[in-house]
C-alpha cells in the first residue's frame, strides 16, 4: 500500500514539472498574468467537482477561519506568478531546482522555530550540511544552464 502511495506522490512531482513546462509554453503567447489566471480558474473548476463528490470538510467554515490562515492565498498567487515568469527565462530544470531550494531553506527555518504550530525540529549539523548541498546544487545548475545556453547559441 505505501509503495503505491509513494509512486502516486512521485506522479504528483511529475505533474508539477509538466505544469511548469506547459505554463511556460502557453505564457510565451498569452503572457504571465494571463497564464496564471487561467491556471487558477481551471484549477478551481476541477476542484469544485472534486469537492462535490469527495469533499469531507466544511467549505463554509472559511468565514470563521482566522484571517492569517486565509492570507496564504497571496503566497499561492506569488508562487505561480514567479514560477511562470522564471520558466520562460531559465527553463524548467533550473526553475525546479531553485524553487525547491527556496522551499527547503525556509522549511528548515520554519521547523527550527516551530512557526505556524509546526513540529519543532532544531537546525543541527545534518541540516546545515543539507543547506550547503542545496547551495552547491544551485551553483551547478547555474553553470550547467549557462553551458547549454552557450552551446545552443554557438
Amino acid at each position: 500500500m505505501s509503495i503505491f502511495m509513494i509512486l502516486f506522490t512521485l506522479l504528483g512531482g511529475i505533474t508539477l514539472s509538466a505544469q511548469s513546462a506547459i505554463n511556460g509554453t502557453f505564457s510565451r503567447k498569452a503572457g504571465t498574468i494571463e497564464t496564471t489566471f487561467l491556471t487558477f480558474l481551471t484549477g478551481s473548476m476541477f476542484l469544485a467537482i472534486l469537492i462535490l463528490f469527495f469533499g469531507q470538510g466544511d467549505i463554509f467554515a472559511i468565514f470563521k477561519a482566522p484571517v492569517w490562515q486565509l492570507s496564504a492565498v497571496f503566497l499561492g498567487v506569488l508562487f505561480l506568478l514567479f514560477n511562470v515568469f522564471a520558466v520562460q527565462k531559465i527553463g524548467v530544470i533550473a526553475t525546479s531546482i531553485t524553487v525547491i531550494t527556496g522551499q527547503l531553506m525556509i522549511g528548515v527555518v520554519i521547523d527550527h522555530f516551530g512557526w505556524f504550530n509546526s513540529l519543532i525540529i532544531t537546525l543541527d549539523m545534518k541540516r546545515l550540511l543539507a543547506l550547503l548541498f542545496m547551495i552547491i546544487a544551485l551553483y551547478f545548475i547555474y553553470k550547467g544552464n549557462k553551458r547549454s545556453h552557450e552551446e545552443a547559441t554557438e
Binding site: 509513494i6 502516486f8 506522490t9 512521485l10 504528483g12 505533474t15 508539477l16 514539472s17 509538466a18 513546462a21 506547459i22 502557453f26 503572457g31 498574468i33 489566471f37 487561467l38 487558477f40 484549477g43 473548476m45 476542484l47 472534486l50 469533499g55 470563521k64 477561519a65 490562515q69 486565509l70 496564504a72 503566497l75 498567487v77 506569488l78 508562487f79 514567479f82 515568469f85 520562460q88 527565462k89 530544470i93 526553475t95 531546482i97 524553487v99 525547491i100 531550494t101 527556496g102 527547503l104 531553506m105 525556509i106 522549511g107 520554519i110 512557526w115 505556524f116 504550530n117 509546526s118 541540516r127 548541498f133 542545496m134 551547478f140 545548475i141 553553470k143 550547467g144 553551458r147 547549454s148
Partner: protein, 142 residues
C-alpha cells in the same frame, strides 16, 4: 538579467513553504480539498483583478492555443491531491522526497527532449551533479 529569474524562483519556493505550513492549519479547520479549492478560487479572483489592471498579454490565446497547453490547472490539482492523500499514509518527509524526485527527474527529461513546448536543453554533467547534490540535501534534511 538572468539571475533575476533565479531570485524570483527562490522566492517562489519560499512562498510555497510558507503557504504549505499555513494551509496545513486551515486544512484542520475546513478540510484539505476545501483548502485547495479556497486557494484556487480566491487565487482566480486576485488574478482576475491583476489581469484587468495589469494584463498586457493576450487572454484570447485560450481559444486558439492547442488544447493541451490549457492543462496547467488540471495538473496542479493532481499534484495537490497526490500530496493530500499520501501524507497520512507515508508522512510529510517521504512525501516531499518523492514529490521532489519526481519533479527533478521529469524536468530533466522534459528539457532534454524539449517536450511540452519547452526549449530543448541537453542534459550535461553539471545538471546531473546539481540533481545529485539535491538528493543528498534531501536525505540530510529528513
Amino acid at each position: 538579467m538572468r539571475y533575476i529569474a533565479y531570485i524570483f524562483a527562490l522566492f517562489a519556493g519560499v512562498a510555497l513553504s510558507f503557504e504549505g505550513a499555513i494551509y496545513a492549519e486551515l486544512g484542520k479547520n475546513i478540510g484539505k480539498l476545501e483548502t485547495s479549492f479556497y486557494n484556487f478560487f480566491m487565487g482566480s479572483i486576485i488574478l482576475g483583478l491583476l489581469w484587468i489592471f495589469f494584463g498586457k498579454g493576450k487572454i484570447s490565446h485560450v481559444v486558439e492555443a492547442p488544447k493541451w497547453t490549457l492543462l496547467g490547472g488540471a495538473l496542479g490539482v493532481v499534484y495537490l491531491t497526490a500530496i493530500v492523500i499520501s501524507v497520512p499514509f507515508v508522512g510529510v518527509g517521504i512525501t516531499m522526497v518523492a514529490v521532489i524526485l519526481g519533479q527533478l527527474l521529469m524536468s530533466m527529461v522534459i528539457e532534454h527532449y524539449g517536450w511540452l513546448g519547452s526549449k530543448k536543453a541537453k542534459i550535461n554533467k553539471e545538471k546531473i551533479f546539481a540533481v545529485i547534490s539535491m538528493v543528498i540535501a534531501l536525505i540530510l534534511v529528513n
